[in-house]
Symmetry: C2
């Protein structure tokens, strides 16, 4: 499959825009994003499992119960969560868009990210509808930027693939891991494709995908109140709608995986204060569940994250994280290796330390992208998790309170 | 129940000592501790659930299968974990003590804390036996210091209580949360009492106790490979042995709770880089499990910990942590309040924000001991968890690698 340009506009029939409508004081920062399909699209979403759910999630859930949507509207600045009138405000935003676009409010996927517990002002959004529509076009980048909170860079990707003999395209934008006082980290992902697929299969593809991608990312272990991943598939590619599991469904899932894995890595790389993307790959696990538990545990461990910040080849902490992960492992069979552009160094074999060059280890761990590779020698299952190092800047961003 | 002096020597028939035997290079730092009973004692221990378990744990488990022990021997400096010969070394240490004390090696509880994956040298320990015995006496403080790694202060407490009409005493020492490269955090707790109690009931009392105490403490979420809590009860008080659940058993459990809760708070207060002890108290939960899940989740949340460091009244993060905790809660009924010596401020009611004085909140949160009080309004169950703030020093201690 080929990487292409265009982000969420790579797929035929999709346009996007991003503007500064005034939710955020900073006039330079865009705060309202729109993705629009020129025709109804199959829609599927997955949401945070946090019991505290932003109002936008409740409204989106209701809107896509029929498996169909046409637009995504997302603001940054306020999360519209923990507000008494949250649902009304979210519905009103959909209404404003519906009026401007000539579509049904029920066909709108609505999302918000930003400050919790403060009301989301509708005034700026109403005022922003005109400019938002005027700016619609091949503008994935503007939308990608408008959804960011304190991310330091946009996350955008697109691929081309084939289904039913037709050229299809899929693209996505994401934001994650931005946190300032008193915002909440939220992971938002919006994916579009021109492939034709039934809502049921789209839902299944997304549900299966996130188990290996977004559910395997952790920046600091705190699951947001507003996480959402959504996919719109509008069929503009003209392929026979994918309605059953077969070669075309597999090609679709492969494209989805390419998009989502890329976005996962970029979200992890841009974590609060992060200087390093850490990928933990576990192989040889007894079963998939154990592989995932072990990989996730290593990536979430504050001690491992801090060691990575310090370029410290502390395999004991990796072993410790595997040991309390709940994974079914034989700790006397575990190998640990650190790999990066600078080389590869084995630090633990069969659950015990081995001689290794501290100099090589330091060089390996001083890179901006590190793989912690773990072999469990107990089966054939594998899993990968993504995270980042724990740095002074994380504490500064999240703890250094200035009135 | 009254607080008294003496630590682990408050109970009749117990003596202790702590020396520098040479495991650690720093001659000022004691590294070998001994607690000895003048008669066999009922013994019970609980251990880390990490699958990676230090050799001392395996040996201790075997030794106290019969419910009886007479001594605790503990070194700091090396954890004797992930070494091929770990069990032999741990057994050898017990043998050295047995020879010196004229007791059975099977009656020794053995513990180690320190560097993982490096061999524990027996030479210094053998050389240290003489001095260790010569120093035996009312010296709980020396033992309390000898077990520390990078804790900044000892943790020691004792209480007097009554059972079977006799004056009984119970005391404990603990270490926790000390971490330097490449050591592992380990929580070790040694408790002695002169009350008479059967091994079975002692085991039951300890098992029940840790659910509310040591299992509700978190410094950074990483469960060590060497955690151990042990209790020796030698009957020197002369009470009729507590053999069934009744008034005396309850008095015993109350004393045990006073000892362990004190040590939990002190361990949390002395966490890596901590400037604040944080106590999260959850009330009104549907059931005990939900209360514990919610309290523990709040105390473990990096975002809450960082907010506490910054004296930031970020109730949204507290709510978020409750929401992903797995606790069965109605998020629209949750109240959150911050309490300390400086006052009390309600920040969230029924799951939504309320007006509060930022100035008061800042004053409350700038104290060294903070309570996060949560009311769930769904039942009558409650739970308390302890932790600390996340600071720059935590990152420095655990990530700032110096060759």
């Amino acid at each position: 499959m080929d990487r292409i340009q265009g982000g969420v506009c790579a797929a035929q029939g999709f346009t996007a825009s991003g503007v500064h409508c005034g939710i955020r004081k900073n006039k330079v920062k865009k705060d309202l994003a729109l993705i629009l399909s020129d025709r109804p699209a199959s829609a599927a979403c997955v949401y945070t499992t946090n019991l505290v759910q932003g109002a936008p999630i409740a409204v989106t859930q209701a809107h896509i119960q029929n498996g169909v949507a046409r637009a995504v509207l997302c603001n940054s600045g306020y999360a519209n969560t923990c507000n008494a009138d949250g649902v009304e405000v979210a519905e009103a935003m959909c209404g404003l868009l519906a009026d401007a676009a000539g579509i049904s409010a029920q066909d709108v996927i609505i999302a918000s990210t930003g400050v919790i517990g403060q009301p989301l002002p509708l005034g700026p959004i109403a005022a922003g509808m005109g400019p938002l529509f005027a700016a619609l076009g091949d503008n994935s980048e503007d939308a990608a930027v408008a959804i960011l909170t304190t991310d330091t860079r946009k996350k955008e990707v697109a691929v081309a693939f084939t289904a039913g003999g037709k050229a299809c395209h899929m693209g996505g934008i994401a934001k994650g891991s931005g946190m300032i006082h008193p915002n909440m980290a939220t992971m938002l992902v919006f994916i579009t494709t021109d492939a034709a697929i039934t809502p049921a299969l789209l839902h299944r593809a997304l549900q299966e995908n996130v188990k290996d991608t977004f559910n395997m990312v952790s920046i600091d272990g705190d699951t947001s109140t507003n996480d959402m991943v959504s996919v719109l598939a509008n069929g503009a590619a003209g392929n026979a709608p994918i309605a059953e599991v077969g070669a075309d469904y597999l090609a679709f899932c492969e494209a989805l995986h390419a998009i989502t894995e890329y976005l996962c890595r970029e979200i992890a790389r841009d974590g609060e204060g992060a200087t390093k993307l850490i990928e933990c790959r576990v192989e040889g696990a007894r079963d998939a569940a154990s592989a995932k538990l072990a990989a996730k545990s290593v990536i979430c461990s504050n001690l491992v994250k801090a060691a990575m910040f310090g370029a410290d080849a502390n395999w004991g902490r990796v072993l410790c994280a595997i040991g309390y992960s709940g994974a079914d492992v034989d700790v006397h069979k575990v190998d640990v290796r650190f790999v990066s552009k600078a080389g590869s160094v084995e630090v633990c074999r069969q659950g015990a330390g081995v001689e290794f060059s501290e100099e090589l280890a330091k060089a390996v761990l001083s890179q901006g992208e590190i793989e912690v590779r773990i072999a469990l020698h107990s089966g054939a299952a594998s899993a990968t998790a993504w995270g980042c190092d724990l740095t002074y800047d994380y504490v500064k961003i999240n703890g250094d309170y200035r009135t």
